[in-house]
Symmetry: C2
Subunit: 168 residues, 2 copies
Amino acid sequence: MEENFNHTPLIRLKQIGRIRTPYNRKAPYQPIDEEGVFYLELFPEYVEGLESIETFKYIYVIFFMDRAKPAELIVEPPWAEGKKVGVFASRSPSRPNPIGLSVVRLLKIEDNRVYISAIDALDGTPLLDIKPYVKHLDSKEDANLGWAGDVRDKDHLILHLKGIPHDF
Amino acid sequence: MEENFNHTPLIRLKQIGRIRTPYNRKAPYQPIDEEGVFYLELFPEYVEGLESIETFKYIYVIFFMDRAKPAELIVEPPWAEGKKVGVFASRSPSRPNPIGLSVVRLLKIEDNRVYISAIDALDGTPLLDIKPYVKHLDSKEDANLGWAGDVRDKDHLILHLKGIPHDF
């Protein structure tokens, strides 16, 4: 770690592969189950680290949103009826650290490719980490929708959260 | 991004605060609900980004495990009866990018402090991001335990997954 102008340490990470998706310019706001092929392409030196991952139904994909717009502290989610919230209460990509996080279904492994269900990332996005999504650790059945639960048309919102585009 | 020796881009992130926990030398393998105070201490310039976060029951905490041992591709989880698995099929901190991820309960906000339930991080760990844990996005009720479901004493294992130390 080194110091930056604000005397907060800079942290260096490395790309371990890339995410391949059909999205070239615009990704949906959240993963959407649509046609198309989605996979994680690991650099060959990391393939050994996939051992036994195929035993998990879901995985976390952690990525670096290299084409995100500059960070904002207050954001206006596109489907939130004009509501403004803090960036840490949102999944906006315009964050102080543009780290993306998605839970996806693991479909199959072929060599250095981990095929997954749809993910809200642009094609070529740098991959940082893969972690198993473990039932007793990560699945919180009493979780809520936070401020998004107050939006007038909640059913409509849930569709958006699931990634259905606005024109749907 | 710049190139490293292997021609894979290096990615720079910044610390946005630190995690305060009672753990100085050893953190439990997973978050454990025990006595003690746990909070995220945001650097003041990011506090505005917390707006409305208090409406969420759970949040994701993303952190940089600055004291993790060097990366390994094959790991032997301490409670897994000698089983060896790939690092991406584990939550080991010794990963190519030592990014930590935990789902925690959000308890209260006081100024630049976000009080949370227990987290498996050492005191002073650099904070990278906070995201809301959103029911319809992140809670997968059909998730499984992966390879860990094959361990002989599964109930015992689930205790470990929940962070109960081995001497318990």
